[in-house]
């Protein structure tokens, strides 16, 4: 008996009792739909978080004072006191450790920013000229301040897009204008591009040389965070280790500073999502197992119901193997069909959930392939026992069965 005959016979058997076939498949359908939906939403969310971190520039290590946690690019208001100094930045810059590409410093304070009658309160970031490159945040109009302006603590300012729009009729008109920040007046030399991390609007900031901020605005020599960009991802670990020693030598106390490796954060995220996936997989595994048992149950019923048919088939020349294959194909087809319906349902479901919750969904081809293979596998596995029973029926006993 060839495969197409067997398939044909299996299909007609499944169709002959549609409701029962559907109920049998339900376990598999729900299981597979759940896997697809959860993996899609999980991957979508992970990708978004990773993307947000990546959008703040790659290969970064952030050093902040005190014991503190946070993400690079999302500096945390530190409670560790004032430990990092401008001097540390200069020393580190002159050290030229291999693998370090850029070092930037960021101090953020809030000040009123005023032009004419317009006034807004904004985050004033005192930083260094490499900021746009490290943060992957470009100047749109004009330019960023340069090394000379930093060294001379000049009164220049680069506006975030939103602030430029708030203060001026159009961002282009901001260039060259003098605006007030706290107690100093600075000349606008650039306006940043529009950018958001997905969590916050980066346009509500203004940038001035760190020296200008320290000397003319706050009078403080301390710095809030330092971000080191490495040449490649491979450099991250060695540079992080170097920084550990570097700051320990200078500050003498590991409690006085924190080194936050972007890779560690990505690893943590991946670890968390990995654990989640494992957990979900386990739950799904259980639901698929239940689905499989459902299939086995129905196949056993089906074998019993069709005992006479099996006897007849044997009487006209079916070998045990022919009968075995017939039932195995039937159960596999049943679960494969369940798997397909589940996949469709999972895709539709994740899109719907995504629409209503704004969690992004990424349909994973691997998840689909795996879910489908598993459902076929379940049909095979749980179909074998009933099929073996069928194939081993004694034809006479089977024909006499009422």
């Amino acid at each position: 008996m060839n495969l197409s005959e067997t398939l044909h016979s299996a299909i007609s058997s499944i169709l002959s009792n549609k409701l029962r076939s559907f109920l049998t498949m339900l376990g598999i359908i729900i299981g597979v739909a759940a896997v697809i939906a959860m993996i899609s939403l999980g991957e979508g969310t992970t990708e978004e978080i990773v993307g947000q971190i990546g959008s703040l520039g790659s290969n970064q290590i952030t050093v902040i004072p005190g014991r503190s946690r946070g993400m690079p690019g999302m500096p945390v208001a530190s409670r560790g006191g004032n430990m990092l100094e401008w001097e540390h930045y200069l020393q580190l810059r002159d050290f030229t450790f291999p693998g370090i590409k850029n070092i930037i410093v960021e101090n953020t304070t809030s000040f009123p920013i005023t032009y004419g009658r317009e006034s807004v309160r904004g985050r004033v970031v005192g930083t260094t000229p490499q900021y746009p490159e490290v943060r992957n945040f470009k100047v749109d109009i004009g330019r960023f301040f340069d090394q000379r302006e930093l060294d001379n603590a000049e009164r220049v300012i680069v506006l975030g897009r939103t602030i430029a729009q708030d203060l001026f009729p159009s961002p282009e008109e901001a260039l060259g204008k003098k605006i007030r920040v706290g107690r100093i007046t600075a000349t606008v030399i650039g306006v940043m591009e529009e950018k958001s991390t997905g969590i916050q609007d980066l346009g509500e900031q203004v940038f001035i040389p760190l020296t200008t901020m320290q000397k003319r605005l706050t009078g403080s020599k301390y710095i809030q965070s330092m971000t080191i960009q490495t040449e490649t991802e491979e450099n991250l670990d060695s540079v992080a280790q170097f920084l550990e020693t570097f700051f320990l030598n200078r500050l003498k106390d590991p409690e006085k500073f924190s080194i936050i490796n972007q890779q560690d954060i990505l690893d943590t995220i991946n670890q968390v999502t990995g654990t989640m996936t494992l957990f979900l997989t386990a739950i799904t595994g259980i639901s698929l197992l239940v689905g499989g048992i459902g299939i086995m149950n129905i196949m056993l019923v089906s074998v019993t119901e069709r005992t006479r048919e099996i006897g007849l088939r044997k009487a006209i020349g079916a070998r045990p193997f022919d009968i075995l294959i017939q039932f195995v194909i039937e159960s596999s087809l049943l679960s494969a069909l369940g798997g397909l319906i589940g996949i469709v349902l999972g895709i539709v479901g994740s899109q719907v959930i995504s629409k209503f919750t704004s969690y992004p969904a990424i349909i994973s081809v691997e998840a689909i392939i795996i879910a489908f293979s598993i459902s076929v596998g379940i049909g095979l596995f749980f179909g074998i026992y009933p099929a073996r029973r069928a194939s081993q029926l004694d034809p006479i006993v089977a024909l006499r069965y009422e």
Binding site: M1, L312, G317, D394, L399
Partner: protein
């Protein structure tokens, strides 16, 4: 060399029903030559079906030997038995045993599927077989759309389709009225004339009289081997029945 198609020697079949042993066959021996038309007759419970099932390789004897075409059947494995059932033997049952979800044609095709015949050839052969039993206009009917007699004819077509040399029929007319029974016997007599060896189980003398030899069974034993001098002709009886009907309707 003219060896018998079927030869059984001291055949026993004992069923174990809990504590009780049921001896369905108790030392049966006989031979059947190629082309014979044999009835196995006896009261209910005399072991006729048990014998036929063994002859059809559906069951194995507890003791004794069974040679089919000179080959001892007890030596064969499950797959070889399946092949014999498929190629050499056509089985007809009292209860037809058609698969309800398949059309007449599909039912007849079944043995060919297990013989590995390709689809197109299968269909041709099945239709030819249905024509042989006069059902060419019922090809796409489902069993529940056919009368009992028609269903049994489909079953005979199925038994014929692989061109087996032996037809085994277990009370094929048991569930049928006189007229349908005669139609079945008419077909079987025709097949026998074409050279098929036919063994028919029945408990009705009227049916057995259509054959040329009757093996009488009682309590699992062969008690008489009778030659029928003048077998009834189903064709003639059908003709008479038809005339009667005409008279009735007048």
């Amino acid at each position: 060399m003219n060896q018998p198609v079927i030869k059984v020697e001291d055949l026993w079949k004992i069923y174990q029903l809990g504590e009780v042993q049921v001896e369905a066959l108790r030392g049966v021996s006989f031979e059947i030559e190629e082309g014979e038309f044999v009835a196995v007759m006896g009261p209910s419970g005399s072991g006729k079906s048990t014998l036929l099932n063994i002859l059809g390789c559906l069951d194995r004897p507890t003791r004794g030997r069974y040679f089919l075409d000179g080959q001892e059947v007890s030596q064969l494995n499950e797959n070889q038995l399946a092949q014999i059932r498929n190629q050499k033997i056509g089985f007809v049952f009292q209860t037809f045993n058609l698969l309800p979800r398949l059309t007449a044609l599909q039912n007849v095709e079944l043995p060919l599927i297990y013989a590995g015949v390709p689809s197109q050839k299968r269909k041709e052969q099945a239709i030819k077989s249905l024509e042989a039993v006069g059902l060419e206009d019922r090809v796409h009917h489902y069993p529940n759309q056919l009368s009992g007699g028609q269903q049994q004819r489909v079953a005979i077509a199925r038994a014929l389709v692989n061109n087996p040399s032996i037809i085994l029929a277990d009370e094929p007319t048991g569930n049928l009225d006189t007229r349908s029974s005669e139609e079945i016997m008419y077909i079987l007599q025709g097949l026998n004339r074409e050279g098929k060896t036919i063994i028919l189980v029945t408990h009705e003398r009227d049916i057995a009289s259509h054959t040329r030899r009757i093996l009488h069974f009682r309590d699992g034993q062969l008690v008489d081997d009778e030659i029928v001098e003048q077998p009834l002709e189903a064709g003639e009886i059908l003709k008479e029945l038809r005339e009667e009907k005409v008279v009735e309707s007048l």
